[in-house]
């Protein structure tokens, strides 16, 4: 009894920390934290940015262009929305009417400089398999980079993200580039289908239109405000909660152990008294 009352008392003690725990990511907060998209439609990405391809060899950004490009930023260790976005792309690509590698190309770039070409190669294998039909290797590149290259690329595209205790906070967006490396439009993900097997989907028709227009050099301006962010949600009060939980848990276990020892020690006395 005492133990339980003790647990309840301790539980009530930690209420203030629970009330204080408050964390949400509204578009305003995200913007205040400098996370989101700063529109740079019409500007050209510096062609001399150096990245690394899946084999680990240097790849100049200029050499990756030459046709309209879908540019996506992820980090390869992400276990939240990044894989779901890539899955969405993998499902949309076979349905495009354009010819892969000749008429468009997908560039997936990790903004985490600790990601290696090895892990990029393994991701590439996953999503190539997910496409479910033969698809040219060169049409979807999984790139990594040094801090400097990453910074120049994200700066040029206006992609604002931040490192967090559990990965990164970043917007979910497809950036369409012209064959010359000019930013043509931002396609932001606004819908997340909760509970579906594939919560992030892209319309092949929209992608077709965007890539065709990018090939013709037609830019579309405008960035939506209500967009999807990829971030880890770890309420602040949770740490304290677990701290108290472990103390209470250990106390309970100790009390039970003490009770057991007490029963064991007094067992003989009670049983011979009878």
């Amino acid at each position: 009894m005492k133990i339980i009352l003790g647990i309840i008392a301790l539980g009530i003690l930690l209420l203030p920390s629970g009330i204080a725990a408050h964390e949400e990511l509204t578009p305003e907060q995200a913007a205040a934290a400098g996370i989101g998209i700063e529109e740079k439609t019409g500007q050209t990405i510096p062609p001399d940015i150096i990245l690394y391809d899946e084999k680990g060899s240097e790849a100049r950004f200029r050499d990756l262009l030459g046709r309209p490009v879908i540019l996506t930023f992820v980090y390869y260790t992400c276990d939240r929305i990044c894989p779901q976005m890539l899955e969405g792309i993998a499902r949309a690509l076979p349905a495009l009417s354009l010819n892969p590698d000749r008429q468009y190309r997908v560039l997936t770039v990790s903004f985490d400089e600790t990601d290696t070409p090895t892990i990029a190669r393994s991701r590439k294998n996953d999503y190539m398999t997910a496409i479910g039909r033969p698809y040219p290797e060169t049409a979807w590149r999984f790139l990594t980079g040094h801090r400097e290259g990453i910074d120049r690329l994200t700066e040029a595209t206006g992609f604002r993200y931040r490192r967090d205790s559990h990965g990164f906070i970043h917007p979910v967006v497809l950036i369409i580039l012209s064959p010359e490396g000019k930013i043509m439009r931002y396609m932001q993900v606004t819908k997340y289908a909760y509970g579906q097997a594939y919560p992030v989907t892209f319309s092949p028709f929209d992608l077709d239109v965007a890539l065709t227009e990018a090939a013709r050099g037609k830019a579309v301006t405008g960035v939506q405000k209500a967009v999807l962010y990829c971030f880890a949600h770890e309420p602040e009060g949770l740490g304290k909660f677990f701290g108290i939980l472990s103390v209470v848990g250990i106390l309970t276990l100790a009390a039970m152990a003490a009770f057991f020892i007490y029963l064991k020690v007094t067992e003989k006395r009670y049983r011979t008294d009878r």
């Binding site: 339980i4 629970g18 204080a20 309420p235 007094t266 049983r271």
Partner: protein, 541 residues
């Protein structure tokens, strides 16, 4: 009072003590473990019948979705079905009813260690049950969260969740006190000469259960308290809009509710371990292993709760660990299954109703356990978790495990509890209908689930119709079987032949005293000189 005493069958502990004027007060104020146990048993079986009726109506409604109830009513029905069957019937179930009646007798004691705390547990149980039932009838809607009270819906729903949660909270205290009482009783009240390994298997499982009750139930209490605080004071531990984490709720809830599975199933295994030796006239094979595996299950069972949450957001590392430990807990369960079967091997078997039920326990529980391994592995779990497969598995373990063992115990100990014999033919006929109905009803759920029928839905696409019709047909057989089984038992209470002290040839202590047992059980406390199932020494075969 006078005319009541003339009734000839008020024998044993049913005889009026004369301490109170009204019988009902005398019973409610009684500290006799047998009386408390019988009251528990009656309450449990009443709730069970209500729960079965609700389940029956749910199945009926699934015959053609929408013809009997709308979506909200369906939610309320399966919530109340779950609340009643889980919290009012199966979790307290075996320990409070059969444990109370037989634990002191099996270890050669006159009562439990704390008879008045025992009475308090019973009062708390009755109060908790009343509070839970109140939530159905007072203003507002009955609870609609499912029996798990998952946050944040349980914090936001306008339904009467608070009252139901309060009831479950009170029931939890009853459970803790019972555990405390039984553990102390087993430590202190064993008859002279009854060492740990001369104790029958049922007390062993009650001992393991007692520790689980004491350790796990406080977690539930504190979790429900937070639901309470969330609803009334806006404390947002589990509410993401207030900075809380709904997955935290799931962790805390299953940290209790998975061990609770062992609160139900461990004593069920104890009952089977009592019945199988008696009806096969053999000492319980691997007696020591059976007893210790109860402790093994209780210990390992603490660390598997995560397998309820494989699909709700957990790191892969945690998933792999929980999955592995889940496989581990199958080992002591398997030890028991194999030992029961080995006990039957070359035994002199008399296939009476209790053994029929015990064997169906072994069969059904094996299916429940093995399907548990399927959903305990990570990859199949992703496909099966949200489906009827879980519903099927759950009912195979709860109803097919704990439920059937209660039916087995009822038939096994019925002569001892009531002093009457039931009709064996009707018992077997009822068993047959029940057994067929059970498997038709719940096995089709495995198939439905594998095909992708989601659980908790009141509606379904046409391709699942056949499966649902088969399942519902099974429920008719099952209910018919239950009606025959209980009709037979109720008839026996009034019309049955008088039972001898030892109708089955049992060798444990309860069969050495009169049926029904007298107040205080034993005139002289027996001295124990050997293991509980001495058929091998006696050479009765």
């Amino acid at each position: 009072m006078e005319p009541m005493n003339k009734k000839p069958d008020r024998a044993g502990f049913y005889a009026r003590t004369g301490a109170y004027r009204w019988a009902i007060v005398e019973w409610m104020m009684s500290t006799d473990h047998k009386r408390i146990g019988v009251m528990y048993l009656l309450a449990l079986l009443s709730f069970f019948s209500v729960g079965v009726a609700l389940g029956f109506i749910i199945r009926l409604s699934l015959l053609a979705p929408g013809w009997l109830m709308d979506a909200q009513t369906y939610n309320e029905f399966f919530t109340i079905h779950g609340l009643i069957q889980i919290f009012l019937f199966i979790i307290p179930g075996i320990p409070v009813a059969f444990g109370n009646i037989f634990l002191p007798i099996l270890i050669g004691a006159r009562d439990v260690a704390f008879p008045r705390i025992n009475r308090l547990s019973w009062w708390l149980y009755a109060a908790g049950a009343l509070i839970v039932l109140t939530s159905l009838f007072i203003g507002g809607k009955p609870p609609d969260t499912g029996w798990t009270f998952y946050a944040p819906y349980s914090i936001r729903t306008p339904a009467n969740v608070s009252v139901a949660v309060l009831g479950v909270f009170v029931l939890g205290f009853s459970s803790i006190l019972t555990g405390l009482n039984f553990v102390t009783t087993i430590h202190r009240m064993r008859a002279p000469g009854m060492s740990w390994f001369r104790m029958p298997a049922f007390p062993w499982t009650l001992y393991a259960t007692g520790w689980v009750q004491m350790l796990a139930t406080p977690v539930l209490a504190i979790t429900l308290l937070f639901i309470f605080l969330g609803r009334f004071f806006g404390v947002g531990f589990f509410d993401p809009t207030r900075g809380g984490d709904p997955i935290l709720y799931e962790h805390l809830f299953w940290m209790y509710s998975h061990p609770a599975v062992y609160i139900m199933v461990l004593p069920a295994m104890g009952i089977i371990s009592e019945i199988v030796p008696v009806f096969s006239r053999r000492a319980l094979f691997g007696y020591t292993a059976v007893c210790l595996s109860a402790l093994g299950i209780a210990v390992v069972g603490y660390a598997v709760w995560g397998h309820h949450m494989f699909t709700s957001g957990m790191s892969d590392t945690a998933r792999v660990i929980f999955s592995f430990i889940t496989f581990l807990v199958a080992v002591p369960s398997g030890v028991k299954i194999f030992n029961w079967v080995s006990t039957l091997y070359k035994g002199s078997i008399s296939l009476d109703a209790p053994l029929l039920f015990a064997c169906s326990f072994i069969f059904t529980f094996s299916i429940g356990g093995l399907t548990g391994l399927i959903i305990g592995s990570l990859a199949p779990n992703l496909h099966l978790h949200g489906t009827y497969f879980i519903v099927g598995h759950f009912h195979y373990v709860m109803f097919g495990g704990a439920g059937i063992s209660i039916l087995a115990a009822l038939h096994y100990w019925f002569p001892k509890i009531t002093g009457r014999m039931y009709c064996e033919r009707y018992a077997k006929f009822g068993w047959l209908l029940f057994f067929i109905g059970f498997h038709v009803l719940y096995f089709s759920m495995f198939v439905l689930g594998y095909q992708g029928m989601p659980r908790r839905y009141f509606d379904y696409p046409p391709q699942y119709h056949l499966g649902h019709v088969i399942s519902t047909t099974g429920s008719w057989f099952l209910v018919a079987g239950l009606i025959i089984i209980f009709g037979n038992l109720i008839r026996a209470i009034f019309r049955g032949e008088r039972a001898p002290a030892n109708p089955w040839g049992g060798r444990t202590l309860e069969w050495s005293i009169a049926s029904p047992p007298p107040h205080e059980n034993f005139e002289t406390i027996p001295v124990i000189t050997r293991r509980p199932y001495p058929y091998d020494v006696e050479d009765v075969r």
